[in-house]
């Protein structure tokens, strides 16, 4: 069995699809620490724009939205995302057309699951991101999403915050969306030194007061709260005291 290991980029993935396509039982992954059996042959894939483009062109011809599906899937934290996306491409080629509505086919179900966990987190983070006002008046939001979604949520906040300057910082992936009030862009950001505005604590405390006052404590339903707002997200929510 051959395992194709990619660098995690889209180009690397499409190159691997090109190389692995005619190999029976080939597996594509970006997980280097994968458990390997004795008869496994490892192939390290070097991204090759020519090969990647050929796969993309073929795919675009069969289903012009498939690349969008794959872009979403490759942002996932799912260990099998490349393999599922690979199977998805094979299915599209086999059928010669879009397959996303074949809702009883296992590969389509898995692919849709991976995608909906990514888009689901995008939606959740539109609500759970918490900005702090810095001394300079810019807004700063650190967070740590399961999937790589920062550039997907930035346009939402750009539209909403108008000419405010803001930063949405993915702590885990060390990258951030930076907005100067006019345009936004992605950049690598390691640690950030933040000086808060003098009013920050006042509004954070009022928010905590609001949160505790609006709760009906005689009707506890913590299970439901945690279902909608998983504990791993609490770290960045002032009303949950950063999960403490």
């Amino acid at each position: 069995m051959k395992v194709f290991i990619t660098d995690g980029t889209a180009e690397g993935f499409y190159t691997a699809v090109f190389d692995a396509y005619r190999q029976d039982g080939a597996v594509i992954t970006s997980q280097e620490n994968r458990q390997l059996s004795f008869d496994t042959q490892i192939v390290n894939v070097t991204a090759d724009s020519e090969k990647a483009t050929r796969v993309r062109n073929k795919l675009d011809k069969l289903d012009r939205y498939a690349a969008g599906d794959i872009d979403l899937a490759l942002r996932s934290a799912d260990a099998l995302k490349e393999q599922t996306a690979f199977e998805y491409i094979k299915l599209i080629v086999k059928n010669g057309r879009a397959v996303r509505r074949m809702l009883s086919v296992p590969t389509v179900i898995e692919m849709n699951d991976i995608i909906s966990r990514v888009t689901g987190e995008v939606h959740k983070m539109k609500g759970f991101i918490r900005f702090m006002e810095t001394a300079s008046g810019a807004l700063y939001a650190p967070y740590s999403p399961d999937n790589d979604i920062t550039d997907l949520i930035a346009p939402h906040f750009k539209a909403r915050l108008g000419d405010q300057r803001f930063v949405i910082h993915d702590i885990k992936r060390k990258k951030a969306a930076l907005c100067d009030g006019v345009t936004w862009f992605m950049a690598e950001v390691g640690d950030a030194d933040i000086y808060l505005s003098e009013y920050e604590k006042v509004f954070e405390d009022l928010w905590k007061k609001y949160y505790s006052s609006v709760n009906i404590k005689e009707r506890p339903n913590e299970r439901q709260m945690k279902g909608y707002m998983p504990v791993r997200y609490w770290k960045f929510l002032p009303e949950k005291n950063g999960g403490q």
């Binding site: 509505r101 074949m102 809702l103 009883s104 086919v105 296992p106 179900i109 939606h123 539109k126 609500g127 759970f128 991101i129 918490r130 900005f131 702090m132 006002e133 807004l139 939001a141 939402h156 906040f157 539209a159 909403r160 915050l161 108008g162 000419d163 405010q164 009013y199 006042v202 509004f203 954070e204 405390d205 009022l206 928010w207 007061k209 609001y210 949160y211 006052s213 609006v214 709760n215 009906i216 404590k217 005689e218 009707r219 506890p220 339903n221 913590e222 299970r223 439901q224 709260m225 909608y228 707002m229 929510l237 009303e239």
Partner: protein, 419 residues
């Protein structure tokens, strides 16, 4: 700046209002402004009672001139009173919004002074928020009964949604329990607002449309003798003839020994069943006459769709691969999402029982009403089927759930909220 105690008093007086939705409007941000509305709505946090926080839900004041029998803020109640100024409220909203704590404002108030004076101050606040603070996020404004209807129509130009609480399902009950409110003082402004919305729609008004997210209302169930059938007919009227977006129900709990209020609670199950029936009327193409007779109550043992299906077994089982969408939607356990999945998937290949399970269609109830490629997987015999379908929720003791409202102050508030 606003102090924490005022915020606490005005939040606690507002928290029992059921609605917290921020959906239905796609208001855009303006140049130099803050905020927009997201049409699907966004939840920003969840409280330990399992409810979502989407809007800053707050009263302008809880000093009330009215004395409604069931209300925690009524004139004769001994509670702490507070008031917030329009500027304080605007600043709080802007600062919460900027930090992404909230999706917008849900502003309501007790009737201090006169209804007109109250409505004027609410209007002043939302205009200030939109014009002076250039805020374009979601605003839900509560309508004040008996206030000048011109004020409501003006407010409708600035906010996304308005709601007048119907409070009780009949005029007779309203007269008895909330004598200062009349059916006309609630329905008349709702109709005026509806007319304004229809005008905007027909004339394709783009800017400054009235209430892009429409109207909602809320009523207490079980404080008065109306049957579920009566309530659901009112609901259907509100949806089909007054274009309401949502009707909220809150189940009555007795706390005050009052000669005009019943001694027994309505129960959370009744509220739950009404919501289920409400969904069937809005999204599943059911007519109220199919679900519940005029003077009847909904079944406690079965959910309304299941109760309907058991009474109409001559229509079942339906073949999953050929049944039209309208019929799939009538299968107990199959909701809009599952029906969509089935109609999509079956265009490519015939589905068997195993396929449905893999597609995560919930089959616990549905299997008694469907066939897959002609095969039936449900129970044989109507008695066995009926026994298997009894809703577990109807077996739990609802009085036990209600006793969670152990102290009087909160039980009182739980009735309906403000106004």
């Amino acid at each position: 700046m606003l102090d924490a105690t005022t915020l606490q008093i005005l939040t606690e007086s507002a928290k029992y209002d059921v609605s917290c939705s921020s959906s239905g409007s796609k208001r855009a941000n303006r140049k130099g402004g803050l905020g927009n509305a997201s049409v699907g709505g966004i939840c920003h946090s969840f409280t330990p009672d399992g409810r979502c926080i989407s809007l800053l839900k707050i009263l302008m004041s809880n000093e009330c001139a009215y004395d409604c029998e069931y209300c925690p803020n009524r004139r004769s109640a001994d509670v702490r009173r507070a008031r917030i100024s329009p500027d304080e409220l605007c600043e709080l909203t802007i600062n919460f919004y900027k930090r992404n704590y909230i999706e917008g404002l849900f502003l309501s108030s007790a009737v201090f002074d006169t209804p007109n004076r109250t409505m004027e101050l609410l209007l002043e606040t939302v205009i200030k928020l939109r014009k002076q603070y250039n805020f374009n996020g979601y605003i839900h404004l509560k309508g004040i009964p008996h206030a000048d209807e011109g004020l409501a129509l003006k407010a409708a130009k600035y906010v996304d949604r308005m709601s007048y609480n119907i409070e009780l399902p009949s005029e007779k009950s309203l007269k008895l329990l909330a004598p200062q409110k009349t059916k006309d003082s609630l329905i008349s402004p709702m109709k005026k607002l509806q007319t304004a919305m229809i005008y905007d729609r027909e004339n394709k008004v783009r800017r400054g449309r009235s209430l892009p997210a429409g109207q909602t209302t809320q009523m207490i169930v079980g404080a008065s003798p109306e049957s579920d059938g009566h309530i659901l007919r009112l609901t259907e009227y509100l949806y089909r003839h007054m274009d309401l977006k949502r009707v909220y129900y809150s189940s009555y709990i007795p706390v005050v020994a009052s000669p005009v209020l019943p001694a027994k609670p309505a129960g959370l199950l009744r509220e739950h069943r009404l919501y289920q029936a409400d969904w069937l009327i809005r999204f599943y193409g059911f007519d109220v006459n199919e679900i519940c007779g005029e003077g009847e109550n909904l079944s406690t043992e079965y959910d309304p769709k299941c109760a309907w299906a058991l009474k109409n077994m001559h229509l079942f089982p339906v073949e999953i691969n050929t049944a039209p969408l309208e019929m799939l939607l009538r299968v107990p356990g199959i909701g809009a999402k599952s029906a969509y999945k089935i109609t999509e998937a079956r265009r490519f290949c015939a589905l068997d029982f195993d396929n449905l399970a893999k597609m995560r269609i919930v089959l616990k109830r549905a299997k008694h009403f469907i066939t897959c490629k002609g095969k039936f997987y449900g129970a044989e015999g109507s008695a066995a089927r009926a026994a298997l379908l009894i809703d577990e929720k109807s077996c739990t003791d609802e009085n036990e759930q209600l006793s969670l409202f152990s102290n009087t102050e909160n039980s009182l508030s739980a009735l309906t909220g403000e106004l």
